[in-house]
Amino acid sequence: MNPFSARTVLSRAQRAGLVVALALIAAWAVLRPMIVVQTVVAVVTVAYGAAIVFRVVLVWAASRGEHLIRVTDEEARAVPDHELPVYTVLVPAYREPSVIGLLMSHLGALEYPADRLEVILLLEEDDRETIEAAARVATAPHVRILVVPESQPKTKPKACNVGLEQATGEFVTIYDAEDVPDPLQLRRAVVALRRLGTEYVCLQAELGYFNVDQNRITRWFALEYATWFRSLLPGLVALRMPIPLGGTSNHFRARELRDIGAWDPYNVTEDADLGIRLARSGRRVGVLHSVTLEEANSDFINWIKQRSRWYKGYLMTWLVHLRSPRATVRQLGWRGLLCLNLFVGGTPLAALLNAVLWATTILWFLDRPPVMEEIFVPPFYYLGVLCLVFGNATVIYLNVLSARTMDRPDLLGTALLSPAYWAMMSLAGAKAAWQLLVKPSYWEKTTHGLHLAKESADVG
């Protein structure tokens, strides 16, 4: 049994600790309310400042030297077919009949011998429509449809675990139904994993978007991903920190994946959690220079749903890994702890706090309530001002840099308009926090196919 499962988000000890802590704080707040508020503001400011500094350090670390693993086309193709291992591709899909046909053509483009490829479509029992659509197109002998029996929790990681049980490949990867992977990605992963040795058990391929120019949201999203995969993750690699995996295109050695218990079916960002668990077990993850194109979420509501699920999952992952602090410290070390707190916990919390902090700033300029001067004690006040001014400027600046390094100078305006995107993140952060309290394991389904013509888009 996975000790870090999000089946229960807070362990009994955590829950007890939280209750005691809240009770103490409440009691203290009754006696000395101002000190409590001042302390909260101080702690939040320091954590926020640390998260910004951490981000800058990651970008800086990533820019010093090469931390993406590169395999050239020639190297990828040089491996003779008979030396390639059997490769299992898991494709979990739910209510996506319209993209299944496209999926087959994208997977068909993979340059990998069919007799060494095993594609398993993971479909849910109650999703007759997709099963039927898949049955019509999945005619090749190496493609299997695996209907996941109805059981709770009905999540993507649960389906993947079912698929992994039946997978015969030495290597395993996951693609979403709408993904367009680089045709040489499997070969590159094989070459890279063999070259890196057994210490490395997973490679995360870069994710990008094929519908960047659909609207402003997709442009922001694309820029965010470019920063994430070109700067932040390579930065984590450079600093030898845990890598929170992205939802698709992670390439595993199947045996090691089974050894550590595969995906946590209760965690709604099972990928990020898996990255931390890999680090805890002392295994390493690399970032592979090979792009899988996904569909960027172009619809505001749909984007909020998806993002709130991610944030909820990050918060979950953060909490479950803080469960046994001594083991966490021992297994992750200080680097891993920094990553866990400032990156995994920090990303959703910063999104959530942004709204509160901006509201405070606006309130100050509108009304200048004297109580705020009391709340913000000088050193933390100055730190807060620094975060407000330089923090925001830094992140906008890094976005401009991303636009340039991903060779998309047309995204300059999008980068400069980033603050509007952060407002969306704040909304998602609030929704995530609320949902973590009321329905932690609920999987906010993301609708795919919005880039297709209106009438054929399916809504799940």
Binding site: P378, L401, R404, D410
Partner: protein
């Protein structure tokens, strides 16, 4: 690792140490001779108020002068509690300028190395920069020039690297260096504008492909190179507006540069001339005094760059040249004091131009000529620094008469502080304008006895001193904008009573301070 790899690194460290020692000696000399300039002491004072005044708060650092020269001192100020000379006598600021100038030399050497200048001429050029009398003086006097030159040199280095690699990442240190330079001195407005422009043009011209795409790339590159500088200007202005109500206090404040220039217009004009031709003559004399062959080096280096289609010389020309042009325009249009130090950027620029010439024509004759053109600046500067009409500020430290005046002012300030300290006054008992009294406040063991301009209740106390527990007004004799004197005795300094009050005079007999009972 072989010895060959280690050797140059070792010597480089030793050489840096050598220049650092020279600068340290100069710094100690300035301090020991009581010659720390007022501008340097006021930067220490601005930092000092944020921690040790009656009303410690960060905004006390003030908005008339750009904040970096004071901010950089902040972390070291608590040491003043252990070694009072660091703050009270300005030792800290001269030590910091010596360290910053040493770093500038290191960066200058690295720029020459990256430009491809061979070892021997490179060492000679580095020495020509590092031991230029003007650089030596400004390494040890605590003025903002050392920090400013360091930022500019870092910008030159980053721009040079970008010209070579074209990597957008190199534009980040470039942008940051220009932004920092604005933090040090407002002349950096020139590179804040010029650097993004040159980056824009370079990308536009050297990128292959369709025009739209080239434009988009050029725009993005210009934003990466320019945003930190533009933000530095905007945020500093915004902070000034929010805290003291002025967007650009250095231009609009009664204590700022513009006000000082207009107050001293007659004095400036009598030395530099009032009309354009005379001013141009004065400016040319100053420039020639610091780098006689500058124009020759500039034209030759630009011609060589054009012939070789090598844009790298533009790194130095853009960054340092724009600062020189800015100061020249400010002076010629009559909005600056025309101090010699405003042309200090010509010194590193000449050295770097000579370096580019040597790289372009590595023949013995060219190398020798370029070196001579650079080294001739050393004797020229020695002569210039000894001509008080050209080196008006510097002669106040370097000539016997000027040094006596400067020392006299420092000593009278210390005497005022000692006498006030001896009176055992409570906090907030002495009201004074810190724009003039910074030396007194700094030298005092009891800085909290003063109510000073940056205090948030200054305006209220000024309006009703006795109601706020003020017992004395400390008035400067000549401060054109002394807020306390203007408020209580009007614009005419002669209106200040001379009997029944305590006064302090400098060694030449000039009255400097008057203490009036409320």
């Amino acid at each position: 690792m072989s010895v060959d790899v280690l050797a140059p690194r070792e010597t480089r460290r030793d050489r840096t140490l050598l220049y650092g020692l020279v600068y340290l000696a100069v710094a100690v000399w300035f301090w020991h001779s009581d010659l720390v300039p007022g501008d340097s002491a006021s930067r220490v004072a601005n930092a000092y108020y944020t921690l040790f005044s009656r009303d410690p708060h960060l905004a006390a650092i003030g908005f008339v002068w750009n904040p970096l020269p004071s901010l950089i001192l902040l972390p070291f100020l608590p040491l003043g509690l252990l070694f009072p000379a660091l703050t009270q006598q300005g030792l800290l600021v001269v030590l910091v300028s010596a360290a910053l100038m040493t770093l500038t030399v290191v960066v200058a050497h690295d720029v020459l190395r990256r430009s491809g200048v061979p070892r021997v001429p490179r060492l000679a050029l580095t020495a020509a920069f590092a031991l230029h009398p003007m650089i030596v003086v400004y390494s040890g006097n605590g003025m903002s020039e050392a920090g400013f030159l360091l930022c500019l040199m870092l910008a030159v280095r980053a721009l040079l690297i970008w010209f070579e690699t074209g990597r957008a990442e190199s534009l980040v240190p470039l942008g940051l260096a220009v932004g920092l330079a604005y933090g040090a001195r407002y002349e950096a407005l020139a590179p804040v504008a010029a650097v993004p422009l040159i980056v824009f043009l370079t990308t536009l011209l050297r990128t292959p492909g369709a025009r739209d795409r080239r434009m988009a790339l050029a725009r993005t590159d210009a934003v990466i190179a320019g945003l930190p500088g533009v933000l530095a200007v905007l945020l500093w202005a915004l902070a000034g507006k929010l805290i003291v109500g002025q967007w650009f206090a250095t231009f609009s404040s009664e204590y700022g540069n513009s006000a000082q220039v207009s107050a001293n217009a007659a004095g400036i004009g009598s030395v530099t001339g009032d009309d354009l031709p005379t001013r141009i003559g004065y400016w040319a004399q100053q420039m020639a005094g610091l780098s006689p062959m500058f124009l020759v080096l500039l034209l030759a280096a630009l011609a060589a760059a054009w012939a070789r289609r090598d844009p790298r010389v533009l790194a130095a020309v853009t960054v340092l040249g724009s600062v020189l042009a800015f100061d020249a325009l400010a002076f010629l249009s009559g909005t600056s004091f025309g101090w010699l130090r405003f042309h200090i950027a010509v010194i590193p620029l000449s050295v770097l131009l000579a370096g580019h010439l040597i790289v372009a024509f590595p023949r013995r004759a060219t190398v020798a000529t370029a070196l001579v053109c650079t080294l001739v600046a050393v004797p020229a500067a020695i002569v210039t620094l000894n001509r008080p009409e050209l080196a008006r500020e510097e002669s106040e430290w370097l000539t016997a008469d000027g040094a006596a005046r400067t020392r006299g002012l420092a000593l009278v300030n210390r005497q005022v502080a000692a006498d006030l300290d001896a009176m055992g006054l409570p906090d907030g008992a002495v009201l004074t304008d810190a724009a003039y009294a910074f030396g007194v406040v700094l030298a005092s063991d009891r800085p909290r006895q003063f109510v000073i301009t940056p205090d948030r209740d200054f305006a209220a106390v000024l309006a009703d001193p006795s109601g706020h527990g003020v017992r004395y007004l400390l008035l400067s004799a000549r401060g054109a904008a002394d807020a306390v004197r203007l408020r209580h005795f009007g614009p005419d300094p002669a209106a200040v009573p001379t009997t029944g009050v305590r006064t302090w005079h400098d060694p030449a007999g000039g009255r400097q301070w008057t203490l009036v009972r409320v």
